[in-house]
Symmetry: C2
């Protein structure tokens, strides 16, 4: 309730009107205090629980209130309230009274009072529940999803969605400018058959192309809380339908976008989650890979990767010599402070082969302490994804062992910049693909390299990382038609015909422009420390992309498919199964 | 610009930061006044037009500024600005100067000043345009759609989208509460093939079921600016993708929802469109049909339908007698004030057959004046759709003839209530279908009729009508599982299995609840008096549901369809065509 007012731009009076007018309750279940004692009130809510016909706890979206059931024999109200099943919806009218001395509950905002029921009405009775609605009750994901509307009654989920709403509203306040329309774009989209035989729409994977066209349309600023759709098959903690804060601006540079996002997050940050410091630190893609072995470093703790090639170069250890003999060969290490607590073995082959001098050099290079553990990786690597993964794994082990490395209340934002513009294709390293998307502009100082050695070109792409999670990404876009055509045809060897409308648009006076998109679901789940983004979405799909409540996706009849000129091509075995 | 500040909740300072920081311009093209004279400024914008190398007009999202091109021979700036093609994007740095006496342009906000260019840069040159970007230039719908990003540069479309953004932001301010997630629901949806053979998702036609489940989930209040999808094939001025302000509340009644919407519209109404008076007038469905021959009456003008059966009953005119001989037979009429101006014929068969007395009764009943024209409809009708259509047609004719009946600046909101809950099916009048949707609750005073004579049951559905257009509709929902099951199975004879999850949800303590949805596109187009909703959507589809710019829907390869286990079933002739 408090948060609602904080986040709202309405006067307190307007808030009251909004919550109490339009409905016949006098108060919410979260509101009554000693100051209300003596008042006649009408509450609506759910029966949280009921004890021996003496009292019950009434719950609504705003809180809990204890209701005393009248005990006189003839009372219909007693009869009614004593027999109301848990989670039934009731109206209770009564008088606010102070709780008897010693029976106050300081943990409960309404714990000083109780409502002596006079009249009551069952608005809807509840049948036996598939599970108890208490946060601590364990229930299967599938069951929770099937009865999502019951799970939504848990205080945890309600708090998550309330916070999400508040944050988004504050973001809108900050960005309130042109409300663009979000639309079809991107690749890997869901297909939507049209009534024209053989023709399909696609669902927006992101409004990328359209927000660029808005800038070309002279709209200067665009932001949207955009619903996007991505078909990734079965991927844990991904949603076929997700939400992003989508932003595009004209006449802007990378620093401009970064300052905007920092201001946006500061403005919309929940008060009770502490404040965040801006500007956010920045790190190049190369640094990130070298020091953390990943392009989304968790900077809440150290254990950085150190190159100890020079220390060991002299030593005559076979695997070291072997590794260093390669052009990009090196020896990298991470030092795990107090690593012993998670690993009993104290022996180290390495020391056997190292002289005193080398050993102390090593200790210095890694700033080793008593009980530390050092992990080495020897080989031909520019990146250190292996040590990067080990670093995170070690952190988990240490925390499992009782140490705290990562303060759960700390929020470490980080910009990762200077990504390569192109990467060699996994299947055929001689060919190049865009590191992000083909509309990303090259780094100004690398522009000429685009024509000579594209592999060396850095991009004007930037990622926003929070506690080791990518929560946003964007770029300054190519606004020159020739450059865009060169990238598509000459570098990526793609058929630019598909994007001809965008390239043509660039020829009609496209302003320099850039933008960014924040993954709202991920961001909110990190703020509330939820294990899954499904905990911050009202009606998520299961990790297999299923809606277990409405049972989607579902079979449709051939008749329903007719207007769309499509038919199902059943895998053979299914055909057989259907036959028998 | 002014509107942006009005609508924003940010301080003026924050607004300035938002518009000027992040980019390197010092001012927008709509901002400079005499007070700025002498200041050195940097503007970014498009070349609106350029005259004889003397001056040009620079345009951005915020306005127009006149730029004087330096005339000294050696100036590179002169060279550059004189040759910049129209609609090229340029940066101009120069000094604000007063315009010479007599050359001020009072019609132009920046008309008192001009900017003497010192340096300039072409950020992007523009090739020959497919059409001139001026509101008064006529261009085909198809061409405008194909180059939507150019059409968006027109001041009219930019104003429309700016107003839309402002209104929506004000609506959010008013409603800011729980930001629910909007999802799959409804019938007649677009289908989305999934990777499971034969299984399809459907796109949300409206979040109807899910917002009800949110209430059952105890979330109390929900609103969303929801993107919805409806496959209506080719229908003029409809969009396969549209936007609605979607609202649901618990413990609310019809009056509560109506007051909320009146407050919402008053709060978000654009200042320069005058104020609107609340509460809105209300009319029953029966009255609307009897007096206006439609369930969405345009109440900006009179010409109501009058039943003159009793006046003519005595007369021995054959078609009158004939009509009145039927059970529901009646004679209805509308009187068109000054109808003569649109209809030269002054004769009237009727007068021949009517005596003096009847004639004067008729004149009195219809309050006829000199030059009025009366149209009659005789027959067996409860409704009067024919006269309703004639009423609107007559209004068009009169206005075409120069009279004003409907003030284009007037906004007449009207609630239409007490709709029937069920209607006889067109194809088989003995069967019933929902007048709106099967979740609509019966009118409290008709609840018992539901079991005895469903055809007589009025519903708790309400429509919001603006100037003869339906801009919203909603209802109090059924919250009793038994009642919902009875309606589906016994009245509608539908298979309730499809909705079993909703019915089951009602059994778990569903609160009394109701809601409404406003058609945002239609509402905004009426406010800005746009001929089509396509004028208030950034990237609309054509009236045939096509995206002429991105060329959607488009063909996809059988390979692309494989993961979705579908194939195109080509109509024969197309198969043939493909063969040759």
């Amino acid at each position: 309730e408090g948060k609602l007012i904080i986040f709202s731009v309405l006067s307190a009076k307007a808030i009251r009107d909004y919550i109490y007018t339009f409905v016949s309750r006098t108060n919410t279940c979260g509101e009554l205090r000693s100051a209300h004692v003596g008042q006649k009130v009408t509450l609506y809510g759910w029966v949280q629980y009921q004890r021996q016909g003496l009292f019950l706890v009434l719950r609504d979206f705003h809180g809990l209130t204890q209701v005393i059931i009248p005990q006189d024999e003839v009372s219909a109200t007693k009869e009614l309230l004593s027999n109301a099943p848990v989670e039934s919806v009731v109206r209770v009218t009564g008088t606010v009274s102070p709780r008897p001395l010693g029976q106050q509950n300081p943990k409960m905002p309404t714990g000083d009072i109780e409502v002596k029921a006079e009249t009551a009405e069952i608005l809807n009775s509840c049948k036996k529940l598939p599970f108890e609605i208490k946060d601590f009750i364990k229930k299967s994901e599938a069951l929770r999803m099937q009865y999502r509307y019951l799970d939504l009654r848990s205080s945890r989920l309600q708090a998550n969605l309330r916070l999400r709403s508040g944050v988004v509203m504050r973001m809108r306040e900050y960005l309130c400018n042109l409300h663009g329309e979000g639309l079809l774009a991107g690749a890997k989209e869901f297909l939507v058959p049209s009534r024209e035989a053989g023709k399909f729409y696609s669902l927006p994977q992101s409004p990328q192309q359209f927000k660029q066209l808005l800038m070309i349309g002279g709209l200067d600023r665009y932001f949207q809380v955009a619903r996007c759709y991505r078909d990734e098959g079965s991927r844990p903690d991904r949603q076929p339908e997700f939400t992003q804060i989508d932003i595009e601006m004209s006449f802007v540079d990378q620093a401009g976008i970064q300052r905007l996002i920092e201001g946006l997050l500061q403005h919309s940050w929940p008060e009770d989650r502490g404040s965040i410091v801006t500007p956010f630190p920045s790190m190049t893609y190369e640094e990130a890979l070298a020091e953390y072995g990943t392009d989304k470093p968790d900077t809440r703790f150290g254990m950085k990767i150190v190159d100890i090639s020079d220390v060991l170069r002299g030593s005559n250890i076979h695997f070291v010599q072997n590794a260093l003999s390669y052009p990009h060969g090196s020896i990298r290490a991470i030092c795990i402070p107090q690593g012993m607590v998670s690993d009993a073995r104290t022996s180290s082959l390495l020391t056997k082969f190292l002289g005193e001098k080398k050993q102390s050099e090593l200790i210095q290079a890694l700033n080793m302490q008593e009980d530390d553990v050092v992990l080495l990786a020897a080989g031909e690597h520019k990146q250190c994804s292996a040590l990067g993964a080990l670093r995170l794994l070690s952190a988990d082990l240490l925390e499992a062992a009782g140490l705290t490395l990562r303060d759960p209340t700390a929020f470490h934002f980080l910009w990762v910049v200077d990504f390569p513009l192109f990467l060699p294709k996994a299947e055929n390293p001689t060919e190049l693909e865009s590191a992000h998307h083909p509309f990303t502009a090259p780094h100004p100082s690398d522009a000429s390299l685009l024509y000579s050695d594209p592999t060396k070109v850095r991009s004007q792409h930037y990622d926003l990382v929070l506690n080791g999670n990518e929560v946003g990404g964007g770029s300054i876009r190519i606004h020159s038609a020739e450059q865009q055509r060169f990238v598509l045809e000459k570098v990526l060897k793609e058929d630019s015909e598909v994007l001809s409308h965008l390239i043509e648009a660039l020829e009609f006076g496209a302003p320099p422009h850039g933008g960014i998109a924040l993954g709202l679901d991920r961001l909110i789940s990190l703020i509330v420390d939820a294990p899954s983004i499904r905990d911050v979405i009202a009606f998520p799909k299961s990790f297999r992309g299923r809606d277990l409540m409405g049972n989607a996706p579902d079979y449709v009849t051939p008749e329903e498919l007719e207007p769309y000129h499509i038919q199902v091509s059943w895998p053979l075995e299914e055909k057989e199964a259907k036959k028998n």
